[in-house]
């Protein structure tokens, strides 16, 4: 804490020239997807508590599990679960895109746009596929 105090009193906070921030640039797809990647990451962070609840409920017993099933089975629960699925798949595909970029592939303008579109369309398509498969796994309409 002493270091902390010292750094604030020795002028570490004085105004310095800063680089232009987001609002100065024309919005582009790659940039928007970068922002969405961070937002989905933050959402998944809290969504993980839902996974922990699911596992704890299963470990606690039939009553706790029934409460969990009721919560995620409600309309709000289903919306949250659908959003969680999409965020998970979007963040996963965005992560794969970043790994591709880390290997220095796909930096041409057209390639960048293609990668971004593939991950965006792919995440929506995969989310629907996961839900349809999940619905069918439950035994379909009943």
């Amino acid at each position: 804490m002493a270091e902390l105090e010292a750094s604030t009193t020795t002028g570490a906070r004085r105004a310095r020239p800063i680089s232009p921030h987001l609002q100065i640039y024309r919005p582009m797809l790659t940039m928007m997807m970068s922002i969405v990647h961070r937002i989905t990451g933050a959402a998944l962070y809290f969504g993980m508590a839902l996974v922990a609840w699911w596992l704890l409920a299963a470990a606690s017993g039939p009553n706790a599990y029934a409460t969990f099933e009721w919560a995620v089975g409600s309309i709000i629960g289903q919306i949250i679960l659908f959003g969680f699925t999409w965020a998970l798949l979007h963040h996963m595909l965005g992560g794969i895109r970043h790994l591709v970029w880390d290997l220095l592939y796909g930096f041409e303008p057209a390639e960048r746009e293609t990668l971004v579109l593939v991950s965006l369309v792919g995440s929506i398509a995969l989310t629907i596929i996961v839900w349809v498969v999940g619905y069918l796994a439950m035994g379909g309409p009943r």
Binding site: L4, R38, A42, L56, D102, G134, G139
Partner: protein
């Protein structure tokens, strides 16, 4: 770290070269990549497990989640993703929270949240596995 020990043959510059102000070099970056690459596979495994469990009775869910292969995949998923989450949230806090006290509080909160969620999930899986 400050100053040089008498018998230290390496210069201070040599000791910190490549490690930067965080003294850990690109470790944070690299661990984020390792956990994301592993996370892709584990997330697919997680989704398969969840899909195969929806709509099943509590007894069936307990049995499947407690089976060794499923439990190991779930544990790996939890540990990998929570470490990934912890690093990610730390980066978000350092990017947006500039007030020192608030920043330290947010970083503490991040660690506490990750440990709470991680231990809860891991304990639940172990309990289901060992059936106590």
């Amino acid at each position: 770290m400050i100053g040089q020990r008498p018998n230290e043959m390496r210069t201070p510059a040599r000791r910190v070269r490549g490690l930067g102000p965080a003294h850990s070099g690109t470790m944070h970056f690299w661990h984020q990549r390792v956990t994301s690459a592993a996370g892709v596979l584990l997330t697919i495994g997680f989704l398969v497990i969840v899909i195969s469990l929806v709509g099943r009775t509590h007894a069936a869910v307990v049995q499947i989640l407690g089976s060794p292969l499923v439990a190991v995949i779930m544990l790996l998923f939890i540990v990998t993703m929570l470490y990934h989450m912890w690093m990610g949230m730390q980066e978000i806090v350092l990017d947006y929270v500039h007030e020192d006290k608030l920043k330290i509080l947010a970083l503490l909160g991040n660690t506490c949240f990750v440990f709470a969620v991680g231990f809860a999930a891991a304990f639940a899986i172990l309990k289901l596995s060992f059936g106590v």
